[in-house]
Each structure stands twice: as structure tokens, then as C-alpha cells.
Symmetry: C2
Subunit: 454 residues, 2 copies
């Protein structure tokens, strides 16, 4: 959300070359708030404002701009300034930003960077989206086992300002294989023992992620182990980078959003709703709507099959949407409960038996209750439902459909997971279609069974 409150004032200060005022604006608030208040400035203006504070603060505020603004500034700067800025950014952030910058600009900027940095960027870019490698940063402090506490503290003082995090010092051997870690807390507690070797202080038995691990699994691990950062290693346990808690926040939000979108039959968006172009939105919704439309045609065919019966007992038609929606709602509930607990790892494939029994019982209880409601409703709405056997058609159907919705809704996500697919992928819409068709068939067959031929 844009905060246009300060924009005119900032522009006035810029026009009046109010150096002191601009410096104060840059430094008085938390850098994230400064960044918020600058939303709405042009890239040139924003950069000019930031030229009034020191180097470190400039980077901090820039860090909190949203990605579009960062990209716009990078593209607006001279190539040399852009390269200088890129080389200062956190290693994971700059890759995310460069991925959105014009390719021509990227090429020029990369050519101005030292070889090592260019290689680092290209390397990080090579990890597929959604893997630990793509989320990690490579600016991490590595220390040798034989280093003493005193030496380590000296080194930290030199590099602290450049590093994204020093919650943990990672201990590696000469080939960069991860051996252990020393936490900042341990470091601070060990200041009195300057000759202690890090190797004696370090914890082993670390929790690590591999570069090609799925980011969702990594996030679950970090949350389970309450980590501030997780080291990322390759198959040989070479230390490749770290993922910090703040990136995990983003991953958790991203995955929850993806699952929510999937379960509402929207192909997950890469941007926020407002930033996604209309055509992309139409496409990502349209493909699923079309698939669901085709599937819903089955309900037409089902109804067509029973056209004569519907003619014979005209009142049946009144309750078709009710039957369908009761089954669909129950199925949707079950699917969502299972999908969410699969996503947060509270539920596994091994639990399918328990889930099935629970859903069967839940379905029977809920179905029985809705059956009673249905009995009352049918009698109230149409006199024809009050006769002999007719009175049982709607209640029996509701019971059957709710039990079916409940079990199918819970089993489908597990089945998808078993197949190695994302359980959130299509379960809810799929459940809906299946239950719709099943609902109609159950309803008509119950009617045929119970009602006298006309």
C-alpha cells in the first residue's frame, strides 16, 4: 500500500536541496518505514533521496523497497553505479532482483562485476525455483576448527557489517565440508576463554538442507528445529550457503498462498493479485474453470439419463442443487482439513486408515443430522414429499452423499500425495465434480428404488 503522505514534502526538500532534512528523513525511522514512505517517488528521486545518507543506511533502505522499485532503480542508475550497488546487496536478494531486470542491463552490469561475484550470481541463478539452492544466500561466515575464540572474534569484527547473519558461525574443513557450528550466544559466553578452539566449542549433529531440497520441506525443518538459519550443503556436505529465518517467513507465506490458490482452482500466481496482469489472471483461472466446466458436463449427462424419472416425479428436481451442495460442502471440508495437515506435516500417508475411519464416522453423524433437516425441509416445501416412501428419498440421499463426500474428500488428497503429486493440486475442485455426479446418481437411484413407478 502506498503512503502518499510524505511524498510532497520529500519533493520539496529535493527541490530546495535540503541536505539536513533529507538526511534526517533517511535516518530517523526504521529503514523499512523510510522505504514505505518513499513509495510513489520515481526511481531517480528515490536514489537522490538516498544519496543523502551513508552507504550502509542506503543499502538497508533499498533492501526494504518492494521488488518493482528495486528493479526500476537498478535500471535507472548508470551501469557503474548499478554494478556497485549489486556487489553490495545480499547474495540471495540480488539474484531475485536481477532475475526481473532487463536482460541487456543485466549483461552490462554483470560484465562490470569482479569475476568471483559474477560467478556467484550465475551459480545461484542456476538453481531451479522452489529449491533450497534458489533461496539460500552465499554470504556466510566460515571458520576453521583450529581457530581460537580470540581469532574468531577479531575476524567477526572485520566482517560483521557485510554478513547477513552472525547468529551462527559455521565451522568447515579445508575443503569447505561442514563440520559444526558455534552460536553467537556461545561466542558471547566464551569471550572469557579466548584460547579455546572453535572445534572444542562447536556443536555437531547439525540439521542441514541439500541444495535441491524442496523449499517447503526446508521451511518445515527450520520451523520444527526452531532454527535462525539452516546451512545448505551438497551431496558431499560441502557448505554451499545458508537460508535465514526471514527467507523462511517468505517461503511459508508463499506456500500457504499457493495451496490456497490451488484448492480454489487457480493456477498459483507468481506475483500478488494486484500485480498480476489481467491476461495472466484470466489464463490461470480460465484453464481450471474450463476443466471444471467440462467435468460439470457430466452432471448434464447424468440428469439426461434420468429425464423420464424426473418427469414422473417432478418435485425431485427441486432438491438437486441442495443434494449437490451438501455433498460438495462436506467434501470440501474434509479435503481442506487433510490438505492443510499434510502441508504442515501433521499428517502422513501412513495415517490413511485412521483418516478413513474418522471420516466415515464423521460423515455418518453429519449425514444423519442433515438427513433429519432434509426430512423436515422436504415436507415443508412440497406436499408430494410427504407420501409414504417419498418421505425417505431426500434423507437417504443426503446421508449417502455426505458420507461419500466426507470419505472421498479426505482420501483424494492422500491419493494425490501417494502419486507424488501436490495434494492441494486439484483435490477440492476434483472432489466437487465427483460429488456432484455421484450426488445426482445416488439421488435418482434412491428415488427409483423407493418410489412406485408412475
Amino acid at each position: 500500500m502506498i503512503n502518499p503522505l510524505y511524498i510532497p514534502e520529500i519533493r520539496e526538500m529535493l527541490a530546495g536541496h535540503d541536505v539536513a532534512g533529507l538526511k534526517e528523513f533517511c535516518e530517523a525511522l526504521h529503514p523499512a518505514r523510510t522505504a514505505d514512505f518513499m513509495e510513489g517517488l520515481t526511481p531517480d528521486e528515490a536514489w537522490e533521496v538516498l544519496s543523502h545518507t551513508d552507504h550502509e543506511r542506503r543499502l538497508e533502505v533499498f533492501h526494504y523497497f518492494d521488488e518493482d522499485a528495486q528493479v526500476a532503480i537498478l535500471e535507472a542508475l548508470s551501469r557503474a553505479d548499478a554494478a556497485a550497488l549489486v556487489s553490495e546487496l545480499a547474495h540471495d536478494d540480488r539474484v531475485d532482483i536481477l532475475n526481473e531486470v532487463e536482460p541487456d542491463v543485466v549483461t552490462e552490469v554483470l560484465s562490470l562485476l569482479p569475476t568471483e561475484e559474477r560467478r556467484d550470481i550465475l551459480h545461484l541463478q542456476s538453481y531451479p525455483e522452489g529449491t533450497a539452492g534458489a533461496v539460500m544466500t552465499t554470504d556466510v561466515a566460515k571458520f576453521g576448527e583450529s581457530m581460537t575464540v580470540r581469532e574468531a572474534l577479531d575476524r567477526i569484527q572485520q566482517i560483521a557489517s557485510e554478513l547477513e547473519t552472525i547468529y551462527y558461525l559455521y565451522i568447515v574443513d579445508e575443503q569447505d565440508h561442514l563440520r559444526g557450528l558455534v552460536s553467537a550466544r556461545q561466542m558471547l559466553s566464551s569471550i572469557g576463554k579466548p584460547d579455546l578452539h572453535l572445534g572444542e566449542l562447536m556443536e555437531t549433529g547439525l540439521v542441514t538442507a541439500e541444495v535441491d531440497d524442496d523449499q517447503e520441506e526446508v521451511a518445515q525443518k527450520v520451523a520444527r528445529f526452531d532454527l535462525a538459519a539452516i546451512p545448505v550443503v551438497d551431496e558431499e556436505r560441502t557448505m554451499m550457503g545458508i537460508i535465514t529465518y526471514d527467507d523462511i517467513f517468505d517461503v511459508v507465506q508463499e506456500e500457504a498462498t499457493e495451496d490456497a490458490h490451488r484448492s480454489a482452482a487457480v493456477q498459483p500466481l507468481e506475483e500478488t493479485y494486484l500485480k498480476t496482469s489481467l491476461l495472466t489472471l484470466v489464463w490461470k483461472r480460465g484453464i481450471w474453470l474450463t476443466i471444471l466446466f467440462v467435468a460439470a458436463l457430466l452432471t448434464c449427462l447424468a440428469l439426461q439419463r434420468y429425464e423420464d424419472d424426473l418427469q414422473a416425479w417432478k418435485w425431485l428436481i427441486l432438491f438437486v442443487p441442495l443434494v449437490i451442495s451438501s455433498g460438495g460442502n462436506t467434501g470440501n471440508q474434509s479435503a481442506t482439513l487433510v490438505i492443510r495437515d499434510l502441508a504442515t506435516d501433521e499428517l502422513g500417508l501412513g495415517d490413511w486408515g485412521r483418516v478413513a475411519i474418522r471420516e466415515l464416522v464423521t460423515g455418518l453423524l453429519l449425514g444423519s443430522f442433515l438427513a433429519v433437516c432434509g426430512l423436515v425441509a422436504a415436507c415443508a416445501i412440497t406436499p408430494e414429499a410427504r407420501n409414504a416412501w417419498a418421505i425417505w428419498v431426500l434423507p437417504s440421499t443426503l446421508l449417502a452423499v455426505v458420507v461419500c463426500g466426507s470419505t472421498v474428500g479426505a482420501m483424494l488428497p492422500l491419493f494425490f500425495k501417494k502419486l507424488g503429486l501436490d495434494p492441494a493440486l486439484m483435490s477440492n475442485p476434483f472432489v466437487a465434480v465427483i460429488i456432484d455426479v455421484v450426488g445426482i446418481m445416488v439421488y435418482m437411484n434412491v428415488a427409483i428404488l423407493l418410489l412406485p413407478p408412475v
Copy 2:
């Protein structure tokens, strides 16, 4: 998930009094893994295993047990041992655990604790569920402005092992009002300047939460500002506690789960799916199913109103479920997109105009496409739809219903938010019911308009 792999071995070691083996089991792995491997032991066994390692490790492993196991152990211990354990636990964790322990046991344990700790527990318990106060911990390191770096480092060495976090040192005045913070990184970088006062080193302009802030807002703030911990203050800026990133992970997951449940018409569960009792599950689903059932009765009444028309043009009935589901699916998509971006703060009430226009355009495009699909489908399924005006009934209805689903689906969550309600509260089910009824009415009225009276 239970890891029964090691249980027989552990029991064998316990029976054989294998002190060295049990000690190694407790200490070789990350404490969270040790905890995982112990799932399935009785509370007495678990505690006996942990008696083979030192005090600190015991607490660490206990921390990673799931809450049920923690509660069972506390209840199984002698009251004195339980009190000793409680007084060592993190201040926020112990409140969560005690909330689940038998009230009699809690009373006895509390009576054995020092007054100050008892007061702290009762105080934390008094904050309502879902507020910052209920999530925060009170074990936090507070320092004075006039303290020097050397004095602070000395103090940290004394207390480091007791504190949950020392990512930040919080600087307070004599009345405990929050004045600023010094990060662990700054501390480590300032070891060379031992006479510097913390007041000179500290950052001001902090991001804080108030005790009664909603936990979801706090989580958004922490994520936005990339914080490892956020200080919680009262109206007078008195420092009450902190919330650390690991608790924020839990909040983010919890809120995403709640929203997912709400949008599938399940009253949010307090436990995981498998841990929730069947009756609770039936109740939390049943109330919403019943509300939706009653709402769905409106579709019966709508169909009843048009009974004569449906008799006149019998083929119309075939497409009722298709019309309903097309509108419902579109509405569901829009509602979910808006709800998710409201939850992650990417969208605000001020954006309603943009959202409305986007949804109108999206609805028109999607509706037009489905209208074409509907034209083809209707002609294929029934010859009666191929005549003169009849051919336009289904396509026009689909267009109208999809546009309506799209706009209503997006606007309802915003409307709920405007009313101060949770946008996820009832939007999806509500949307479904509204669209179902509107769908039937649009369909029948289009038919009456276009078709010749029979």
C-alpha cells in the same frame, strides 16, 4: 509421526541400566531428533532416559517433545520435580504447557514455585489467546543505557544460557521503558571498544508490538521488517516481553490453517486434525454445514417458483448444476485470491475500486469463453437447445453468472473486512450460496425472456 525404530533398543538399555548408552543416545543427535526418537515411550520412561544427560540437554530435548508428551511428563513427575522443571522452561512455553495440565496439578506445582515466577505465569496466562501478550516470553535480557560494553559482556556471560535469545539486547530506563536495542552483531563488533556505553551504540526507532495486538498483525510486522525478535510493550512503552522468530513461524502456520479451514466452512480447530476429538470435529463442521444447508434451501424455493417454466421447457433442467457450479467456481476463485492477499497484507480496503474493475473485466473474459463452451455443449447435448432463441439461453446465463460470481466473490471478503470481521470468516461458503440462488434466477429469467411461451 511416531518413529518406533529405537523404542525397543531404548527399553533394553533402560532395563540393563546402560548408563553410557543412554547418555550417548541423549547427546549424539540434535535434541529435536532425540525427542522424535523417544515418541512412544511412557512419560516415566522418557524422563528416566533424560536423567542420563545433563540438566541443559534435558531441557532442550524436553522442549522438542510435542505438547501432549510434555503435559504427560509434568503430570507424572513428583510435584517438586515438576516445579523444578517448570521453573527452568522458557516463560512462554511453560504457560502453554500448564494450560493443558490438570488444574489440581497446576495449583500444587504453582504453590511450590517462588512468588515471582508464579506471578509471571499467572500474568502471562491472563492475556487472551491470539494476542501478542499470549505469545510473548518474559525471559529477556534488559540492560541500562549507561552500561559499558565490557559490563554488558560480563553480564551476558552469566545469563546467556538461561535466555531464550540474545540476538538483541534491549536497552531500558529505570522504569523498564524501552529505549533502544543493540544487536548481537553490534556487540560482537564492539568487543574492541569495551568502554563504549550501550546508549551510544543502541539503535532507536524500534519496531514494537503492543500486548493486545492481534498475533497475525505482529507476524506480518516481523516478516515485513525481517526481525529475529520483536519487543512487546504496553501503552506506556514498558517492556513486557519479546516474541521470537520461532514463535512467529507457528503463528504464520496457525493463521494460514485457520484461514484455510474458514474458507472451507470449518470452524478452525485448536488441535491438529488427528488430535481433534470426533465430536468436536462433527460440531465444528456441523454448524457450518447446517447454516449452508438452510441457505441452500433458497435454491429449492427458487426452483419451485419457476416450476411451471421448467415444465414448459424441460431441457432447461439439465443445465442447472452446470450453471450453479460455473458461478460457484468463479466466485470461489475470486474470494480466495482476495482473502489470501488481505491476509498477507498485499491488498487493503483502499484497493476495492481496482479489485472491482479487475474482477469485472476478468469475469467478462472468462464468462465469454465459458459462454462459447456452453453454446457448443448445449447444442451437443440436447436438440431442443438448437432452436432459434433457445440457443442463446445457456450462453447468456453463463456470462451473467460468471461476471456476477467474479465480482461478488471478490467484493464480499472486502465487505467483511470493512465490517471488522475476518474476511475468511464466511466468504467462500457465503459466495457459494449467493451465487447458487442468483444463478438459478438469472437462468430462469433469461429463459423466460428468450423462449416463446408454450
